[in-house]
């Protein structure tokens, strides 16, 4: 049976849903080992067992977070060797992809990013060219490295939970020598709203908001949605850059994407056109966003959004 290695970076006090998804996929491919960087609480260790992990590897060094990706890739390569892993799974965050990239070179392994499904033989499925194609790809190397998008499977604990043994693996001494060092880090204030990348519903606003994100935020809160934005809105400083959806922002594939005051430029569409249902509110009937909207409203968002918010509150009451 194949050996699969899952990388979980700084799990904190409980595993994220995306980590549980990776563990679920790993079990469908073979025997699972996990590499954890950072604290490993008893709860997390217990969950790893419940999800079928046979072994948990931890780094000999505690300062991997002080550097950009390179030492994490070196640690993971050492674990992959030790565990005899033929598949390594990572999360598809920018950092996850970069660790995957360097790991691929270290292991002479093919890397496939943005994966949305993995077959039992390691064939990966993804969508490319801004969602216009779906492709299947496979590594031709003995080891495969895959970064997998969130929300691709339902997390399932193992039928027979295990009690994984914990092992420490040395981080190669040269790993930090040629790595960029993080000299300061500022935490951002959490919005309390769902995370944009894996939210079920996203309400996004653009230049049409004219500086006032209120109507978008209120509708988002009534729907329990995340707030997104076009680049015009983030460039104007109306909302933080993290909210940008699109080619140079985030790619989202929610059940529902509501676009308000956004024209629908190709770079914006690139981030959202795999949404299941798209609703657009724009006062210009010629806006390209209407070409892809399942439900389009030609109208003033300052009328339409508050009215919808009120109606949702009324129906939910």
């Amino acid at each position: 049976m194949a050996n699969v290695l899952v990388f979980i970076d700084n799990p904190g006090q409980a595993l994220k849903k995306s980590s549980l998804e990776l563990l679920t996929i790993a079990r469908s491919l073979g025997e699972t080992a996990v590499a954890v960087n950072g604290e490993l609480s008893d709860d997390v260790a217990g969950t790893l067992g419940a999800y079928g992990a046979a072994a948990v590897f931890r780094p000999s060094a505690a300062d991997l977070d002080d550097y950009l990706v390179a030492p994490k890739a070196a640690f993971l390569a050492a674990v992959a060797d030790k565990a005899g892993a033929t598949t390594v799974l990572l999360e598809n965050s920018p950092e996850g992809k970069e660790i995957a990239a360097r790991l691929g070179i270290r292991l002479s392994a093919g890397v496939i990013t943005d994966v949305v499904a993995v077959d039992a033989d390691g064939t990966a499925h993804k969508s490319v060219l801004a969602g216009s194609y779906t492709t299947t790809a496979k590594a031709t190397t003995p080891v495969t490295v895959l970064s997998v998008k969130a929300n691709t499977v339902e997390p399932q604990p193992a039928t027979a939970p295990g009690a994984p043994e914990t092992l420490t693996v040395d981080v190669p001494a040269e790993a930090t020598a040629a790595a960029a060092r993080i000299t300061s880090r500022e935490q951002k204030v959490a919005s309390g709203r769902p995370d944009l990348t894996d939210a079920r519903i996203v309400v996004a606003g653009g230049r049409g908001l004219d500086g006032d994100f209120g109507p978008v935020e209120e509708l988002a809160d009534a729907l329990g949605a995340a707030v997104g934005a076009s680049r015009a809105a983030t460039d104007a400083g109306w909302i933080s850059h993290d909210a940008q959806v699109g080619q140079t922002g985030k790619t989202v594939s929610p059940q529902l994407y509501i676009s308000a005051g956004i024209s629908g430029a190709i770079q914006q569409k690139a981030g959202m056109q795999t949404a299941k249902v798209i609703v657009a509110v724009n006062k210009d009937a010629e806006s390209p966003v209407f070409e892809i909207a399942d439900f389009g409203i030609v109208g003033d968002l300052f009328q339409v959004l508050p009215q919808a918010t009120e109606e949702i509150k009324k129906r939910k009451a």
Partner: protein, 266 residues
Amino acid sequence: MKIVVLVKHVPDAQFDRHLSGEGHTTDRDESILSELDEYALEAALQLAEARGGAKAGNKVIALSMGPAGAVNAIKKSLQIGATEGVHLTDGALAGSDAAATSLALAAAVRHLGADTPVDLVLTGMASTDGETSLVPAQLAERLGLPQVTFASSLEVDGGRVTARRDADTHSETVEASLPAVVSVTDQINEPRYPNFKGIIAAKRKSITTLSLADIGVASSQVGHTGSWTRVTAAEERPPRTAGTIITDEGDAGIQLVDFLAAQKLL
């Protein structure tokens, strides 16, 4: 300072893009200089200008790997202000994945640093076609250099590069010694356009063509044979079609909620 900027010739996203052939690679007919590489080029030009420009011996080398047409990305870079261009082109490179691409680019960067060393390799945050962001990190790993990725600001001083990065939960400052590989986001600057003077000046600038033999890479190390991944199937998604469009007559908000309820999205 000697800066190499990686510039890619990519299919223009304003047109429909297609995958074709045995390897399901992108058609490159309607191609342009990748917009995201313009930010890297601008960053390089600013660093060179701050040090006295070409007159003071600062070099901004635009390096592109790709078929004949990729020379257009280099020409545009020269018009914008790069001092020289290098075109790595060889039939055997076709179909290279990120691993094979980074292998060839690493060899090209080493070749360009053979006489005087390269201080900085600058790239865009991702190509606008492959969109993987793998190449900068793989290039850094292959060259044994620090990588500073997704820089939204950049300073070079005393043999060190300092950059700001913006992640979801935090922003950070990172520092590395030169030489380094740095990728920049579209937040870092406003790329300039080629002006008339630049277009005229570009005609006198040299473009060096390199083959795999020139950089000491065997054809079996790149292209489909040298790649570590293979695309086995590609299927075009049916384009999204427009659904119901209504014009607000005072109750569009209510109709919107009716629609969401009917779709079981409330």
